[in-house]
């Protein structure tokens, strides 16, 4: 835990690279008192820095020469691209030169480098990607959002514990309602993986487990944490993004299809903007990979500067609140249950 967290930012990541990441990171430093390590190609990073107001910004450049392509396999990047910005950034955390990493680059590579370079917290079986989704009320945490497919029931169990710690510390929910994504509300509904995880979650220490949630419950805001296998979670997150964009496009088409609707849309312009802001992923920053010795936050490839600033701010809060200590505690308190389940 540090008063002034040091965040290593993958300056080369994302669809727009340094042109978006560097201003987002500098803004996070200025607004939130964070020390930023800009990891990437020095000349390119410098070129972006020249355009910015750097008053009150604390930063250094850490050079990283290798370039990662989006179609490369995470395992290949891990093995062959020792000087890729994401690898260099994760090593800074391992060597205690930084507290966390934020990247909008290749998400598979960020997950792999986080897991294998930083390593897992003691007792954590599988780190989990934790996505924040907007709902009618407060944001909901969905985990795992894609780091682990083919999960065992005790993995889902630990996702619940980690999601709880995250929702308490970072979202300020006092007793997060933790739910298990299934295909019916009643106990006993679901596939074999979910049914076994249900049994474990019921017995968990210090967890407000509220039972199964169905797909239709996610966006009503009646639960705070939704646990699922990484395959299902990735489908859920991508689908919610896709459906929201599709609905917005359909609405737009209808509102531009005639004079009256067009006038209506003009009058309601600000209301529309407010709505778009509510469902904008940029407001939420990124998805933390929970369970690491340190922290890695995976941002959307399309992230704009605001999304980067928000993700870096979140990583700062994570360090200041020492969320990893809370996470390790709850994992430890439930260690026997995990071990028992793993052995059967």
């Amino acid at each position: 835990m540090r008063e002034n967290p040091v965040i290593a930012v993958d300056a080369m990541g994302g669809d727009f690279g340094p042109s978006v990441v560097v201003p987002g990171a500098i803004e996070a430093s200025r607004q939130h008192g964070l020390h930023i390590l800009l990891v990437g190609d020095t000349p390119k990073v410098e070129c972006e820095l020249e355009k910015l107001n750097l008053d009150n910004a604390h930063y250094e450049i850490v050079h990283a020469a290798d370039v990662v392509h989006m179609n490369e396999k995470p395992s290949d990047i891990l093995r062959r691209k020792k000087n890729a910005s994401i690898q260099v950034a994760c090593r800074l955390v391992r060597e205690s030169a930084a507290d966390g990493v934020v990247s909008a680059g290749h998400s598979g590579a960020t997950v792999a480098c986080g897991m294998f370079i930083m390593g897992r917290l003691p007792g954590v079986e599988r780190p989990a990607l934790s996505a924040l989704l907007p709902t009618e009320k407060n944001p909901v945490v969905v985990l795992d959002a894609g780091a682990n497919v083919d999960c065992r029931p005790y993995h889902l169990f630990q996702f619940g514990l980690m999601g709880d710690a995250f929702a308490r510390d970072l979202l300020g929910y006092s007793s997060p309602r933790v739910s298990l994504l299934s295909i019916g509300e009643e106990e006993g509904k679901g596939n074999s993986q979910v049914k076994e995880a249900y049994e474990l979650l019921k017995m968990a220490q210090n967890l407000n487990f509220v039972g199964n949630a169905e797909g239709r419950d996610i966006f009503g805001g009646e639960v705070d944490v939704v646990i699922c296998d990484g395959f299902v979670g990735n489908v859920v997150v991508k689908m919610s993004e896709g459906l929201a964009s599709s609905l917005m496009r359909m609405l737009k088409r209808i509102f531009t299809s005639g004079l009256l609707p067009a006038m209506g849309a003009m009058l309601a312009k600000n209301a529309f903007k407010k709505f778009a802001k509510t469902i904008d992923y940029a407001e939420y920053g990124g998805a933390p990979l929970l369970g690491l010795k340190g922290l890695a936050i995976v941002c959307h490839g399309r992230s704009n500067a605001l999304a980067m600033t928000n993700a870096i701010r979140m990583s700062g809060a994570f360090v200041r609140k020492d969320t990893n200590a809370r996470l390790a505690e709850t994992i430890l308190a439930n260690e026997e249950l995990t071990r028992f389940s793993r052995s059967v």
Copy 2:
């Protein structure tokens, strides 16, 4: 195949029972030349019939005395409620007194009675519930939408074959783009179940397999059939329903939050209605359980009369086009591949 299909309608099913099902069924008969067997409690059905215009309607009442409760297990209903309307309806198909069944009742019971009373078409491993979802372009078929959890790869393979036959015959797509729901577009992305199913689908006879689709692709309208495990499919279908309703409620709240937005909403009232109609499940009727000797269509519990009419119309088209013959053909043409995969 009959010119005038006979459809057994579960008159007692759904949140509103005969008051909605009977008028929906009579309308389907009048508009689409179908012969309807109204299966349920005779006095209750008669009471609803008295309120209706029955010109050109062809129907009979088939009495069924048992009442099914929503919290009963499908297996218990199958074993103990021999005179439940859904059981009686499925027996009518088995005895060739009807061609198909439509029910808005207990969906688990409909699936169980369909599978065990009607039985499967030769070669079909698992019948699949096939939901139609609205997209920006044409509706997409998602299957399995919840009849089978814990699927094997060759189950997914057969879902693709059945979805293709359905999309050709019932939706009129000439060469349906069949996709496999996964967490990345490239081959090799997904869990082990999906990766193995991919291999089979690539080798399928007479199938336009276009590879993986991600959650975000479903609603853009770029694919026509989406294959997934019943657990995932059920989450997808319920989530799309929940998210669409949540977004509509959020929009409504924003549009009633001030004078200008409210005036805008008034001007755009018809546009809104058109939008709501586009995403209204009632326009799509119900989800057929494909792969049976006969047909069972599962309707939403909240179905209104229009949804019932549409579902019954769909079952009529299914019979008239003899979709089961097409389905049996494609299953047979791919039998060796299925058998090979099952044996490994």
